[in-house]
Amino acid sequence: MFKNEELEINLGPQHPSTHGVLRVKLRLDGETIVKCTPIVGYLHRGVEKICENKTFFQGQVWTDRMDYVAAVSNNLGWAESVEKLFGIHVPRRAHYVRTMMTELNRISSHLLWLGTHALDIGAMTVFLYAFREREQILDCFESFCGARLTTTAFRIGGLREDIPPGFIKQVQAFQDRFLDCIDEYETLLTENRIWKRRTIGIAPINADECIAFGVTGPVLRAAGVKYDVRKAFPYAAYAEMNFEIPTRTEADTYARYLVRLEEFRQSHHIIQQCIDGLPEGNVMAKIPKVLKSEVNEIYHPIEAPKGELGYYLVGEKGGQNPYRFHVRGPSFVNLQALPQMTEGRLLADVIAAIGTLDVVLGEVDR
């Protein structure tokens, strides 16, 4: 007389909490997830192919549009991998400024994550608090390079211009109040019983599974693996910086939340070191007007806010543009773990899992 039927439901591509155009096909038994299939590609623009048809200088503009909330990190990856391909040595001052900007970007990216993740779970207010601070960082970007989101912040060989007068003061103003702001988010969430119930033990993925899926970034560190490209393969000025890699072992949503909050503090610490130890000197290396490559290939990973962002560049003899360009986007790789994290759990956990993975669809689809 009665029969059970599974309900197939499309979460997205237009859904308030899929952070863009992610479509997740869910088979539900009641509210329990039987099968979860992320379907990506709605935002595919072919960035890699386009970059193969642009010169090395032009390519950077396209990297902004991949992970658009962490454009500076993408720029750094591109600039450094091209420099590696051509063996260009960047002045120390430029390295420091790049490090400072990238860490500011890490904070702004994590702020966006914190806000939207909390909003997905139902805590509205954190979202607006986080955006208040993000605004201040974007103002810093604006005075540095004129753009707020798609920054194209660096040039191959260093920086186009030295930092503007008053920039350090502006960053310092942010530095001075940011630690208190983190405490403010913590008072709203960290000890909140509902927040804890919604995050502890939710969307777990242990270290072995993380490694099998190639998951990196805070998700991997929350599973207890102390892997951070900044320490493992130092780039920019990170070798001279003093900072910790926060890890947890619980491997759940709450652990990832705590790891990212600690990363706020570490980034804050790195920025302070950059400000205090900013060396004098040039910001631009001497590079030819036209870059012509040799037959060469490089893979250059950096630690983007979401995880390991790798650029694979192949040069051909005399080529002004890359022969082959491939991006290892952390959002794309991390998203593959979504079914593992959610199957057999509840609908509301999918929302928490998408939030805690911190994917940006611009980078997933590229």
């Binding site: 139902g122 805590a123 509205m124 607006l128 909140n192 509902i194 119930r197």
Partner: protein, 392 residues
Amino acid sequence: MMTPVQQVVMAIIQITVLVSIILLIVPLMTFAERKVIGYIQVRLGATRQAGGIRGFAAGINKLSWAMGRIPILSFFRGLPVFAADGLKLLLKEDIVPDRADRFVFVIAPVICMIPAFATFAVICFYPGTLFTFPTTFPIIGGLPFTGFLTDINVGLLYIMAVGSIGVYGIVLGGWASNSKYPLLGGLRSAAQIISYEIPLSLSLLVAVVLSGTLNFRELSLYLAGVPMVTAAGEIVQMPLIAAIPLFFGFFFYITCGFAETNRVPFDLAEAETELVSGFHTEYSGMKFAWFMLAEYANMMAVSAIAAGFFLGGHYLLPFGLQRFVPDSIPFLAQPSLLFFFGKVFFLLFTFLWVRATLPRYRYDQLMSVGWKWLIPVTLVNLVIAATIRLIF
């Protein structure tokens, strides 16, 4: 005694006044929601809305910003937005989805709204006569205008009975939309409201057990702790120790009230980030507005009941502590509309405050909170109340 004609005319006048007040407060609540949450979240638009750049008010606002304070004059800015909202909802195209069950789809918001308004029929806003019509009035001349619509002796039973009808509107609305998210929202709501109805009733039973009546007016007078003359002519007063179950009962009741009205942290039926808009995803225009009206009217009803039973009703002090107010200060010792509405508005503010602060429970967690936690503690509270009633 009133003649039947007088009764009907009086009832029509009172109902008109009551419904107008509710219909005025509900849109104002949406305005207050914007403002309160805006200030809590430091939203720039809501805190500086339509400030203007010249003039006295703008000057005061600028001065208060310069002093690092929130400008007081901007508190009421944006007030016309609620009128615009209403107009928009009225003029908006009313869409019924193609495959929806048309009749049920249309009737669902009505089922939701009518019980929400009907609850107010027994709520006592003032336990006596507010004013008397001058004798020069036709038909109703010389009659008293009371602070309550009806004074029936099954008031609380009526509230519980009528209050549980509203959920049918939500379930049917979600089902009739013939869409997946509303269906999930409707199902969640059904399970949630049925589960929370039990602790809600158990926490209200505390009040009934202590006072021995179901009449809203007598209940609120007795639980305020003032000496009250019963129908049998004896003077009764609530024992002071009864404040203990009353105090806990208040928190249990408010918690269940949040769940009954589908508000954060129990807003699973319309969890925006999970179910898009839950049961009213497919609704637009005035039908959607009816759901909204029902939700806010329910919030008001829950606040009024909590204020009436637990927070001392029409008197100043809550939990039966009114006896400590000296009679020498007549303003504080007398019942007043001001006290009642002050409490109601404070509770309504609490609804908004909680919404801005707390995340949302997950569906199964909500159920376990209801069944494993709220029902046992409300039962214990009821036993305590019954013991106090027996002994004192």
